[in-house]
Symmetry: C2
Subunit: 190 residues, 2 copies
């Protein structure tokens, strides 16, 4: 998606050790007009698919998911990152290993909000190693619901997450696929 | 706002010790069409005010803030709840005392995203003791920016936060003001 690629070129900042900072428009300050354009593009990409729910993960996926959901006319559910180990019995839960932060955490969704009839579109801001997205897929499958696909804003295509998840048979659509990046040369897209 | 009050009556669940669960439509599963109606109502209430930015706090404020921001045509910034004590020097930060969870945590916003020229509308899902909202006000003032007011979805008006913040001279608009609630009799609105 040209609009997003241009915005990453203009406002993204490449840091050392594989960090792409996009907090000017995507995940700290949020440009909701850009979000609506991304929502329309997700809608175009998944046109013809029956989707009953959008699932994302707190915190930075929530804004994009909510704006995009206006194009799909479905509710959004966000998976909560569980801080405590006190998980009630009425939730689906799975463990996510964060490579960025070097630790594992649990994510959970109330059983009330994922049903076997649900056809779920996953939405998140980033796909890199795919740990968060695999966690979301696991929650949907635990509920007996169907994963229609994943709509991702920025895929770091030089990291293994995207390939790994596509090989699982899940359709992944990324609006900007970063092929390489460096502090000197900036970002190139696939 | 009638629409929200009716929804709380229909889908809200009153639990013991002052908990009003609205996770069917507000803060776990999210009804984005309701969010747009709430956004329009915030726009109507703050009509005529110059607003340059919406500030909210992760996680459950983000969805409402992003959808509402489409009515205001301004960016959203969300304050992050800091898990680590390693705060870089380029952020505004303040401590929030959570009565609900019985602990304190830091919230932070990058200095890049709050400027003295900013006229900020605060948006959050709940106002009870007012700790989170006071934290947001403190961040805005630390930046030398102006708090235009606060748009709240549900105020528990029997708790002291709303009064406390109005007494500070901050305009608070709540779309539903809960006067009392109990497991037996449900919710009454002011």
């Amino acid at each position: 998606m040209k609009l997003l690629e241009e915005r990453i070129r203009r406002d993204g900042v490449v840091r050392g050790n594989g960090v792409l900072k996009v907090d000017r428009f995507l995940n700290h300050q949020m440009d909701v007009e850009l979000f609506m354009e991304m929502g329309k593009e997700f809608k175009r990409l998944f046109e013809g698919e029956e989707i009953t729910k959008i699932l994302t993960i707190e915190a930075s996926g929530i804004g994009i998911a909510c704006v995009a959901a206006q194009c799909f006319h479905v509710p959004v559910v966000f998976a909560k990152k569980n801080k405590t180990k006190n998980i009630a019995g009425d939730v689906y839960t799975t463990e996510v290993e964060s490579f960025t932060h070097g630790k594992t955490y649990d994510i959970m969704v109330s059983k009330e909000f994922l049903n076997p009839e649900d056809r779920v579109l996953l939405i998140d801001d980033f796909l890199a190693n795919g740990a968060a997205l695999m966690g979301l897929i696991s929650l949907v499958r635990e509920a007996g619901a169907t994963v229609v696909g994943a709509g991702i804003c920025i895929e770091k295509a030089f990291q293994p997450g995207g390939d790994r998840i596509r090989k699982m048979g899940v359709r992944v659509e990324a609006l900007a696929r970063v092929g390489s990046m460096s502090e000197e040369d900036g970002v190139t897209f696939l």
